[in-house]
Amino acid sequence: MTKSGRLGLVVLGLFAAAAIFAPWLVPVGPADTTDILLTRFLPPGATDDLGIFHLFGTDRLGRDVWSRLVFGARISLMVALAATAGAVGVGITIGGLSALSPRPVATLLLGITDFALALPRVVILLLLAALWQPSAGLVVLILSLTGWMPVARLTYAETLAQLGRPYAEGSRALGAGPVRLFLTHLLPNVAPPLLAAATLGLGNAITLEAGLSFLGLGVQPPTASWGTLIASGRDTVINAPWVGLAPGIALVSVVIAATVVADGFDSTKAGPS
């Protein structure tokens, strides 16, 4: 793992910790309001009349932006993690099956993968999210079902490459079936590039989740997610830009961290180590 990759891991860890320990990190709850007229649109670093310190200021209802940010991280990160796990699971299954199946099955599965790759993802996302009642669960399902193809392609290519190696042949000669061979021998060896792809997918999932919530098609207000926070910041862009800036900067930081971690995995694989 490169130095910048490790830095990325630290950043991801900090965000995860902030999400897990959210209730202990904030002065007030994410939806708490007191006197709205007195506490709304306070700039970052202000202290209100009750003596509560607002690190990132308050929004138009006097809610603490920092508090909404860390509680929003819970939703955004959970949704992205679950969606990535789903996509990687489906991708490994399809990719592994197409590498180990007889020719016709493999051709069919690869054809389906290619077809799914050719679909414009956001158009399908828009259709699905706009047509059904939006919720966090639906977003996870949609992102999993539209994000597995790169993992499947990668698993297929890497597994085929590993199948030619002597250890795979040896394991076969000792009587290992295809499922056992794949799970205990091949999968650990194709893991590094898969991890890289999964981390990149995580960044994508966070961006798309926020995008859907931003359009009002994902997680619904008053639940805080980074997308709904950015969307609410859009309405107050003139007098309180910090409401939309803070969650956006958080989102970009996580995506950058995921990118450099993925690069780190890749160079680990390519380097002499």
Binding site: F115, L117, A118, L119, P120, R121, V122, V123, I124, L126, L127, L128, A130, L131, W132, Q133, G203, T207, A210, G211, F214, L215, I230, G233, R234, V237, I238, P241, G244, L245, G248, L251, V252, V255, I256, T259, V260
Partner: protein
Amino acid sequence: MPQGFIFGIIRAPLVILGVVSLTFLLLHAAPGSPASHLLGPTASAADLAMVERSLGLDQPLGEQYVRWIGQAVQGRFGISIATGRPALRIIAEAWPATVILVGLSILLGHLFGIGVAAIQATTRRRGVDRFWSVVSVVLAALPGYWLAFVLVMVFTYTLRWLPAFGAAGIDSDFLSPGDRLVDRLTHLAMPLATLTLIGIGTTARYARGTLKRVGQDPYLMVARAKGLGPLRVLVWHHLRNGLVPVVALLGLSLPALFSGAVFVEGVFAWPGVGSVLIHAVQARDYPVVMAAATVSAIMVVLGSVLAEAALHRVDPRTRP
């Protein structure tokens, strides 16, 4: 004509048919009907049934599907339920805006992205390489809708330079040709900048890797040894070989580019296919959604076929 081009032409209609069928299925499987959007919440069940019958929505789904396909191949996409205008005319008015926006952003994003990658691959100073790496990672990580938000904040509300919405001002029809062009360009500036900046990031990240890999090849040393200048070596030898994977990626990333444009069109109210699609989906305007899905599928597939043909042209090894 290369063989891959013909193969692509055979495969293309299958992909388009797949996209269209999936859209049709999702659209009709979803709750809500265009009749209830047309008549509002106070409509009686009898009225709803009557409108659904006149729209042909009471027929079995399979029959509706076959009929829609039958008409679509003749170029008939029906009348928009929400607005009463021909669905194809609505799309025909919208698609040039999308093609201008996406086409220009692909062009500029690749031009500047490859430029950045060329600087990184040829510089001897580590700091320069590192600086542009950081810039391109940040640019590639920016979500379009948030970058759009920041640009609007800076250029519309703080500096008051650029308009934030639409493709032309309301007084555009009364301006002189020169002023009208300026008006159009200022409206185009921010949506285009949003897509282009992100495109520069992704292209530069990818092209840097491929250019660096080729950079150590002996043939470049030969080119330099026979006395060619650095610019000549870069353009005629280094880029020519190193950019082949970038051309390959272009075809694969077209669906994503169109997808990204949907968000940006939505934010800036850019009157393209993406905006039409968002509105039509919300109004359950079946004919318009189907027409928009068909046209965007055709655009994406056509682009992929062209990119594949370009790849076969620049890299003879990929010819089947």
